[in-house]
């Protein structure tokens, strides 16, 4: 299933929190708590999503159709809902990644990119 380029572009650039959530979900479905922990782990604790930001972003991503709520037969806690990336979400995350890569390339050309210390 392909998505119209315009639909994707309309959502870019993604807010940082949204991009992190999509990144984490791209490796598998998670519930909200899991998302927050994995984001924290992936960024070595640099990004710590506060509950309000996390769930408002989840709500927004759900509305935009970038993620979806999975029906899971057995969960640890029945109150916890599990979210997964949709195909559209994957496409948007990809487009955002390309956009960022392009920015990085430009920064490199300008000689602004620092060696990781």
């Amino acid at each position: 299933m392909t998505h119209a380029r315009d639909d994707i572009d309309a959502l870019l650039p993604l807010p940082t929190a949204a991009f992190h959530i999509l990144l984490v979900l791209s490796t598998g479905d998670r519930h909200g708590y899991g998302i927050s922990q994995d984001v924290e782990a992936a960024t070595d604790g640099a990004v710590r999503l506060a509950p309000g930001t996390l769930y408002r972003t989840i709500q927004r991503l759900l509305e935009q159709g970038l993620i979806t709520e999975r029906r899971v037969a057995v969960t640890v806690d029945p109150r916890r809902r599990v979210y997964g990336l949709t195909a559209f979400g994957r496409a948007v995350a990809g487009a955002e990644s390309s956009r960022l890569a392009e920015l990085v390339r430009l920064a490199e050309v300008a000689g602004l990119l620092l060696e990781p210390s």
Partner: protein
């Protein structure tokens, strides 16, 4: 910790909280358990910031959605939206205007520095009721004693109000003026916009100065800043302009535009009977109003002992500057606010009704949305947003309505206070408007919205009809509207009856066709009675020759204009007593006065020129009745100022003190009997001319005559006696107009309410009506049913409305001039008007019921 976080969660919209609240709390709890004491505090602080940062955008988003939805739905129902906005605008406008004016007059501090320490001092009766405001003027000597013998005042100044002819090259203009002592302007404390106050120690030889008002500066001098130093003529004397006051400076009264120095010289202090000053003071630091009054009372006693001749009965009228208006004025403003609140309630009932009707119509829509998963809370929120949006638009329009109403309400702003005639748009007023908008919008829009939100049930989806009890609820609301309308109709009706009653009071003279104008003869130039009489004689002889003139005369005071001039009269052998039973009104007149004024001569004769040397008097009917009850007064003698006078004529009574007050019996003395005194208070100065033609057409010719007799004497206070009479009832006319305007609004709103309810009922009963028509019911009977329906609601509202109205009228009694609160004419008229309103409101729905076509209704089923 987590409990605290749960409280924070309440800031989120309920839907969001339901959806994610538990998980958010769990996430927070997990993080909190991993932290130590300080970390937890930091976590909580972070969570608070996070909550605000996310809850606010969520609410805003939702508001945006609701507003867009509201705009869409209202576009589909423009009639409803317009009506709701209009009703809100009227309610908010009427209340904002009424309460702003009341606040302006009753509460707002006067526009002077430290206004609460400003007081006014005048002369008053030593015993008995003082009344409101300035009772009588002070003599310069009394003013000086009050000023010098007490330390209660930081400063006490005196002034005299008058009008002067301003000449500065252009057309001469008559300008209201205050002659102020050097203390006055500094103690009132408003700095001039340009220039300075008067030099306090300017000597008598230097040119007098004048400070001008902002209005005059703009209109007369085009706002020219070079006006300072200009020389202008005031009543023929050159004055140098030294200052311009700011626009909000209105002291001592609203119209005063010139302030010139009042320099009292030693001669002015000689006669304590010559009263022409009013005083204004500032209380000294730490001195209360009551202490100052006690201080003044001591001086009053001292003066009464020292100068019994003039001061035996002289006390003070002493009051805060803030309180210089009549209690009736206060009562009327309170009545106005009450009436405006009636309109507010009426509008709320009307709006609640509108929203209920709309809720019934929207029941299906709401049920569909509920079935699609919108929570009850979400629907209620949507409806509340709709109410608030309508109220906000209506409230904004209401501010406009209020500003439009100000000119009408300004009639109720007393001109005795040193404030403008309208409050002007300010923050206080906008705050009031916001409060009233909230009251209308939230108080009564929300209630039905909550009901509707709660009742979005499956019944509606199934096509069920609105419950009968909601219909009853709406009928009660309309009955309340009718009741409130009755309250306003009765109140304004009673005020109208009061005006008519005052107008029907016999003034004792015939006002139509009488021109009056004033010429005060200056002293010492006209110090001798003989010289004055020559002036009067010359003027009157020529005026009487003018075409159309029937009669002309001079008098020391016009009825209802000069209300004082009181004297004491006793019979020979009686002791002089001080009580009111011996007070009479004293006027010095030339022959022909009674004919000019149209006062009937009941017995004897008018005064004549030869009376100049005789001890005679003409008295009024009540005078004769008081001293010689049941007897013929002609030829009887009485004592006045120690000399005997003989009655030569008896004339009709005049309402000297005004249509609404009892007047003392009147005594008329020949003009020359004033004698050669330096005072001019009792000098005849008002020329009274009765003409068969137009009064004002005579003015140029009369001015000409006076100029020919003495070119130096100005003519002022040109007016017709009809105008004098009209000012007697002007405040009452204003009251009636204001209250009647509100009553008409109430009538329209109530009519709208009845119409809306009946139209809705007819629409709901289309089916029943169609069936009955199909079964052969008479159409007229069905229409009658609709009308009967309307009438029963009117009756339901009229009866309690009348009860409240009578109670309200009781509190307005002081304004009613004796019209009984249960005035049958007013009550019958009110009921008739209400029935007519109901009939009008029922008219269209009844016709619609008649037009129901059984076939089309059946087919639709």
């Amino acid at each position: 910790m987590t409990r605290l976080y749960r409280i924070l969660l309440r800031l989120y919209p309920a839907g969001f909280r339901r959806e994610y609240g538990d998980e958010m709390a769990a996430l927070f709890a997990a993080r909190a358990s991993a932290e130590g004491g300080a970390g937890r505090i930091r976590l909580l602080a972070g969570a608070a910031a996070d909550t605000v940062a996310n809850a606010v955008p969520l609410h805003v988003e939702m508001l945006g959605q609701d507003l867009r939805y509201t705009a869409r739905t209202l576009r589909r129902a423009p009639g409803f939206a317009l009506t709701a906005i209009l009703v809100t605008a009227i309610a908010v406008g009427a209340n904002t205007a009424a309460f702003s004016v009341a606040d302006f007059v009753l509460l707002r501090p006067l526009p002077f520095p430290e206004p609460e320490t400003l007081v006014r001092l005048c002369a008053g009766p030593r015993t008995g009721p003082v009344g409101w405001g300035c009772n009588n003027q002070l003599s310069p000597a009394d003013y000086r004693d009050f000023r010098d013998q007490t330390s209660s005042f930081a400063a006490l100044g005196a002034y005299m109000r008058d009008a002067v002819n301003l000449v500065d090259g252009g057309e001469p203009a008559r300008v209201p003026t205050a002659f102020v002592t050097s203390e006055v302007l500094p103690l009132v404390g408003v700095r001039p916009l340009l220039g300075t106050w008067h030099e306090p120690d300017a000597d008598a030889t230097s040119m007098p100065t004048v400070v001008i008002g902002h209005g005059l500066w703009q209109s007369r001098f085009g706002g020219d800043r070079n006006v300072l130093g200009r020389i202008v003529g005031l009543d023929g004397a050159a004055h140098a302009v030294v200052g311009v006051m700011p626009p909000e400076f209105r002291f001592p009264g609203r119209d005063v535009q010139l302030w010139t120095p009042l320099r009292l010289v030693e001669a002015d202090f000689e006669d304590r009977g010559n009263n022409y000053l009013e005083a204004v003071g500032r209380l000294a630091d730490g001195v209360t109003f009551e202490q100052a009054r006690a201080d003044l009372d001591v001086i009053v006693e001292r003066l009464a002992r020292a100068y019994p001749e003039t001061n035996e009965e002289t006390g003070v009228s002493f009051f805060r500057m803030r309180e210089e208006f009549s209690p009736r004025n206060r009562l009327m403003l309170q009545a106005l606010c009450g009436a405006a609140l009636c309109i507010l309630l009426l509008a709320c009932a009307n709006l609640a009704n509108l929203l209920l009707a709309r809720a019934s119509v929207r029941e299906r829509e709401l049920a569909v949305r509920a079935a699609l998963g919108a929570g009850r809370e979400r629907l209620a929120r949507q409806m509340i947003t709709e109410s608030i949006a309508l109220a906000a638009v209506g409230g904004a329009a209401g501010v406009l309505v209020a500003v439009l109403m100000f000119p009408l309400l300004s009639l109720l702003v007393p001109s005795s206070l040193p404030i403008g005639s309208v409050p002007g748009l300010n923050l206080r007023m906008l705050a009031l408007a916001a409060v009233f908008t909230a009251l209308t919008g939230i108080g009564f829009g929300v209630a039905p919205a909550l009901r509707a939100g709660g009742r979005a049930s499956l019944d509606a989806l199934r096509g069920g009809r609105a419950g009968a009890h909601r219909q009853r609820y709406r009928a009660v609301l309309v009955a309340i509207e009718v009741g409130l309308c009755v309250v306003l109709l009765v109140s304004s009706g009673l005020l109208l009856r009061a005006v008519l009653r005052v107008q029907s009071v016999d003034a004792g003279f015939r006002a139509d066709g009488v021109l009056t104008l004033r010429t005060v003869l200056p002293k010492p130039e006209y110090g001798s009675a003989e010289k004055r009489d020559r002036f009067y004689g010359d003027v009157l002889a020529q005026v009487r020759r003018l075409p159309g003139v029937r009669s002309a005369a001079y008098t020391s005071g016009l009825p209802m204009v000069m209300t004082g001039g009181i004297a004491r009269v006793v019979l020979p052998g009686q002791e002089v007593r001080r009580d009111a039973d011996y007070r009479v009104s004293r006027r010095y007149v030339t022959p022909g006065y009674f004919a000019a004024l149209g006062v009937p001569l009941l017995a004897g004769r008018d005064l004549e020129d030869a009376d100049a040397t005789r001890s005679v008097a003409v008295v009024s009917e009540s005078f004769a009745e008081r001293y010689w009850p049941g007897e013929d007064a002609l030829g009887r003698a009485f004592l006045f100022q120690g000399s005997t006078r003989v009655v030569v004529g008896v004339v009709g009574d005049i309402r000297v003190r005004g249509l609404e007050r009892e007047s003392e019996p009147q005594m008329y003395l020949p003009s020359s009997h004033i004698g050669d005194t330096p005072l001019s208070f009792h000098d005849p100065k008002e020329l009274v001319v009765r003409t068969a033609g137009s009064e004002l057409a005579l003015v140029p010719a009369v001015r000409d005559i006076i100029r020919r007799v003495d070119p130096d004497q100005p003519v002022s206070d040109v007016r017709t006696l009809s105008d004098v009479l009209a000012t007697q009832t002007a405040p009452r006319h204003a009251q009636v107009r204001v209250l009647a305007a509100l009553a008409i609004i109430a009538l329209l709103l109530a009519g709208l309410g009845i119409h809306g309810l009946l139209a809705y009922t007819v629409a709901q009963q289309r089916h029943d009506i169609a069936v009955r028509l199909a079964l052969g019911a008479e159409p007229a009977r069905i229409a009658r049913n609709v009308v009967r329906n309307g009438m029963s609601i009117v009756l339901l509202g009229v009866v309690p409305g009348l009860l409240v109205a009578v109670a309200a009228a009781g509190s307005m009694r002081a304004l009613l001039f004796g019209v009984p609160t249960l005035d049958p004419v007013t009550i019958v008229a009110t009921v008739v008007v209400c029935i007519a309103m109901a009939a009008t409101g029922a008219w269209l729905p009844a016709r619609r019921a008649l037009r129901v076509s059984p076939m089309s209704v059946m087919r639709a089923e």
